[in-house]
Symmetry: C2
Subunit: 340 residues, 2 copies
Amino acid sequence: MSTTRLTIKDVAARAGVSKAAVSLAFNNKPGVSEATRAHILETARAMGWEPNLSARSLAAGSGTVGLAVCRPARQLGLEPFYMEFISGIESVLTERSSALLLRLVRDLDEEIELQRHWWKSGQIAGSVLVDLREDDPRIAELSRIGLPAVAVGHPSLTGPFAALWTDDAGAVGEAVRYLAALGHRRIARVGGAPELGHSIIRSGAFSAVMAESGLEPGRQTATDFSGEDGARATRSLLASADRPTAIVYDNDLMAVAGLSVATEMGLRVPADVSLLAWDDSQLCELTHPNLSAMSRDVHAFGAEAARTLYGVLSGARPEPRAVHTPVLTPRGSTAAPPPG
Amino acid sequence: MSTTRLTIKDVAARAGVSKAAVSLAFNNKPGVSEATRAHILETARAMGWEPNLSARSLAAGSGTVGLAVCRPARQLGLEPFYMEFISGIESVLTERSSALLLRLVRDLDEEIELQRHWWKSGQIAGSVLVDLREDDPRIAELSRIGLPAVAVGHPSLTGPFAALWTDDAGAVGEAVRYLAALGHRRIARVGGAPELGHSIIRSGAFSAVMAESGLEPGRQTATDFSGEDGARATRSLLASADRPTAIVYDNDLMAVAGLSVATEMGLRVPADVSLLAWDDSQLCELTHPNLSAMSRDVHAFGAEAARTLYGVLSGARPEPRAVHTPVLTPRGSTAAPPPG
């Protein structure tokens, strides 16, 4: 295969015009006739040449979207949420013939430096910011440089950026009230990474709704969202003297792992213990029994994030919007607690 | 937030030098003293300015890697293989502070056009080509334009590109011989998308090794790799008069779905039917019983693809290499067939 590159000079020579004429034709500027412009574009196309546009106009023209994710690489491939979220973004980008520039970062400082570089050097038209923390340093740093972005998180976390969020507190309330209505008194929660804004919101909502329902404070465990951590947390909960009769998980991967642990420990789901998953990817319908879940369409959520960003890029200033709030989808893993 | 952009003129003014001097300093060219160069770079850094490099030098310098995947967006988020493969690529890119330009395409013509555009306009340093077909049109078109790439597929499919593959035929042989050694005579295979090169290789190997083992030709079903299709195929196989006593799946998602279908139909795994998964993501260890699988480290496979591409970019001409060939990992879903 040859790696010889055609230049604008080659195109000009073949078309029998000056280099300047080629440039005018491609930049759609006056100075060449319509017939000449058509001839030049056709010649270039036939030769397989495209102008080496500036990075900025490329990114703006092609609408490349940046996404930096601060998670270990292995985990990205295992947790359904991100993959579905990314696939949702891609579904909108594909319609627009745009692409996603994806990078894993080790910490938020690296992400700030990266987003700054992507934006200043013109590699992206805008970004989707995810996994917002309390007092997230990205908000000040990236709004200061004018990065167009949509921030996926509660408006209390997203500063001046367009915010897209799901009502986590409301969903936690619905989950706990459902289990309490079934008769559960000892409800535990296997939460996600404790530094994330939505973990803090869910954790606070869980405590509050347990108290409102007149229940003892339920045990809450933090994890890294992995199946392994979910299994460990479940084993610890189910081995305790006052083991819970119901467990709410912060994603579905951990709930699938929890189901396996319950079976391994000789407990029947849901007769002995009820399990309630979160996010509800296809996984929940692949287990036996199928997992009850707080369902939301993560793919559609990703698509909405991309559409909101393109809105921002066209000059919209969208209000913060709660979308795709998880709804209770009861399946085979939740029932009344065992008697006594 | 302000979107005013600094220009090279602003930097030159602040540093008290000419625009040409700023350009020389950033391009590391002679014509400015070391002290002046340092002063200019420091001034630009303090102002938050970076040169608007050409797209080509950006892509080359930052080593952006292109990946186009011809699968429906929803499926990308559900099938563990791609997510783990992408996470493996990202693990190598992160070490190099590079990013992945990811795009879903509807067909190979769209991919050819996209790769051509990415390469000609300088948005990528090279690409990873996946899901190769027999007589894949990408091979001729993309080698003709000199795109640096690694092609993930058997060397019979990859033309002049650096090839990285797994020995699918060998792995299918190992799977069938293992099940035959356990005593199975009726073995079925739930395969993937029939147009893919590796599906064709696995399908041919399955027929050949069944014949070699003196077994009746096993039934083979094509699917789209989804859990839903895997469940449908399993239901059809297990409802048939001469139902197989063992089923080999082309990924793990379909095997998980198959396990659920067997349970739903009142069949015990492995006492009544053995199930053998492929690829072996974390999913296989989350089910009960755990799924036996032809395991390979898909994350490491993705990382190897990225490293091979960077080798190609540094001028290497790597030999085709079979890596991470699946190895049999027996767990709880395979055993001797039921008597009779």
